[in-house]
Amino acid sequence: MRIKALTIRILRQIIRDKRTVAMLIFAPMLVLTMLHFVFNGDDYVPKVGLVDVPQPVLSELDLSSAEISEYESEDTAKEALSKQELDGYILFKNQEPFIYLEGSDPTVNGETMRWLQSVFKPLQNTGVNIDLEVTYLHGSSEMGQFDYFGPVLLGFFVFFFVFIIAGVSFIRERTTGTLERLLSTPLRKWEIVLGYVLGFGIFAMIQSTLVATFSIYVLDMMMEGAFFYLLIIILALAFTALTLGILISTFANNELQMIQFIPVIIVPQVFFSGLFNLETISDWLSWVGPITPLYYAAQALRDVMVRGYGWGDIYIEIIVLFGFSLLFIFLNVIALRKYRKI
């Protein structure tokens, strides 16, 4: 009852603020559109598996500048491929090489193919057929940079805008004295947090549905899996952003100070979420990724949108995201003790 009242009030406030609504929906679309036209590739060391490569051929190959692992059978190599331990593997059937690529990241595809071509060049004189046959586990040669980065960006924009809006409106609630007014009613602290989560959660769901629909159907972002899974992931992420935004706002005294948290809280998440290849990050920083919500959302989004995976492959990430939300909700209730002890 009280939570419902709070939820309705928040939704009403959002709807009244037409500019913010427009901002939340169109800004991500605009930026995604721009990025769609901008993207380009960079350097990478491919991980390649060798299956049953004949000894004479092997001795001819220059295997430097790639991580090589050898496999007894195609099955084990395929498994490594689907776990993303390999970018691709070479299989010899009747003296002919076949190439299998993991395929979800176009940069990696490109690098792996380039490496393979340079390696097989010396064989041209030995009579081995080097008309390479390529099979993709995910994706295709058609896939562009934007298709791979898209899911991460989609997650990022939802996270970013929900974080800011929730944080700022909670700060406003504090600075205008309405938070104190709320706390002078029998409203419980967890009811305040939950009311906020529901109010902004409903709006975040509408926003992310629109942005995701635009990305997929207008910008033609790759979408292999089910739209429904995408929504679940985005919703879980929005909840995390929401609860984190409210929590962080406790440490800010005004809107400007909230904005100052962006470089500390938001920007690092972008670096560690998989927008840049995580394996090129130095070891002493690689622990950062797994403690950021965006890391899990990006992984799950990519699994659904690029790899077409289903529930079985994303549920852990979703549980982790909801876990983050619960943790932040809990911390929020504690933080509200500052304003009322009971």
Binding site: M1, R2, K4, A5, L6, I8, R9, R12, Q13, R16, D17, T176, G177, T178, E180, R181, L182, L183, S184, T185, P186, L187, R188, Y339, R340, K341, I342
Partner: protein, 245 residues
């Protein structure tokens, strides 16, 4: 007017913000059905004291009791109406949406809600401005809306922190008329003010200065004891005494 049973009891209350002491060993009883004024300059600790009484803050040492139960408690909060110094309203929403929101927080049912909203809005003369956005309200209208919200759940104790600041004399009179009306129905009213002539309207007064309660009594008692003809002079005498200590 008052039937002499205390409904608020402040016992040895001190409050520190860091090292600064804002309330010093306050002892005070407020009687059921009276209009009690807390008078003092800004920074005297009035707001801190009424916040503790409304459950928003807790003393560092000592206890506050309402109806013989220790504050803060969510049960007691339901019996208090609190109006803060600043108008805590949502400017993007209409007056009706604001007041409906708070009515729901106090758990008023649909029918009762409608009826109460009409009653309190008429009491503060805002009934015809119910559908306006609060952002378009004047300062005085916002104050009155805040008051209406504090009255919604028909509280037994009404705690008002500087309710008439920035309000023109005519309006102030009409707001005080509604206080008297409520008081007649038995509502205990605790009011903070730094305006001396407003203090004269209270049944009893507590004079506060630098975190101490320096005197308590009816306006006439305070004046007689100090041989002053105004509350202001009485305040000066009590303040001077405390300075010598």
């Amino acid at each position: 007017m008052s039937n002499l049973t205390p409904c608020v009891s402040v016992q040895n209350v001190s409050k520190y913000f860091g090292k600064q002491q804002v309330l010093k060993e306050i002892n005070l009883e407020i009687l059921r059905g009276e209009i009690f004024g807390l008078l003092g300059p800004s920074g005297a600790g009035k707001t801190t004291l009424v916040k503790e009484l409304s459950g928003l803050d807790q003393p560092t040492s000592g206890e506050n009791y309402l109806f013989n139960e220790k504050m803060p408690s969510l049960e007691l909060i339901n019996r208090i109406g609190y109006m803060a110094q600043s108008d805590a309203l949502y400017l993007e929403l209409s007056a009706k949406e604001n007041i409906e929101f708070f009515a729901s927080l106090y758990g008023l049912k649909r029918n009762k809600q409608k009826q109460r909203i009409q009653e309190v809005m008429e009491m503060v003369n805002l009934a015809e401005h119910l559908d306006k956005l609060v952002g378009d309200y004047s300062g005085g209208m916002k104050r009155r809306l805040s008051l209406a919200i504090a009255l919604l759940h028909d509280p037994e104790i009404l705690i008002l922190d500087e309710p008439t600041v920035g309000i023109d004399p005519l309006l102030r009179k009409s707001i005080w008329d509604s206080f008297y009306e409520l008081n007649k129905k038995g509502t205990t009213i605790i009011i903070t003010t730094h305006v001396m002539d407003e203090a004269e309207k209270c049944d009893r007064l507590g004079l506060m200065r630098d975190g101490s309660l320096i005197a308590v009594g009816t306006p006439n008692e305070l004046k007689e004891k100090t041989n002053s003809d105004t509350i202001e002079k009485a305040f000066l005498v009590y303040g001077g005494v405390s300075d010598e200590n």
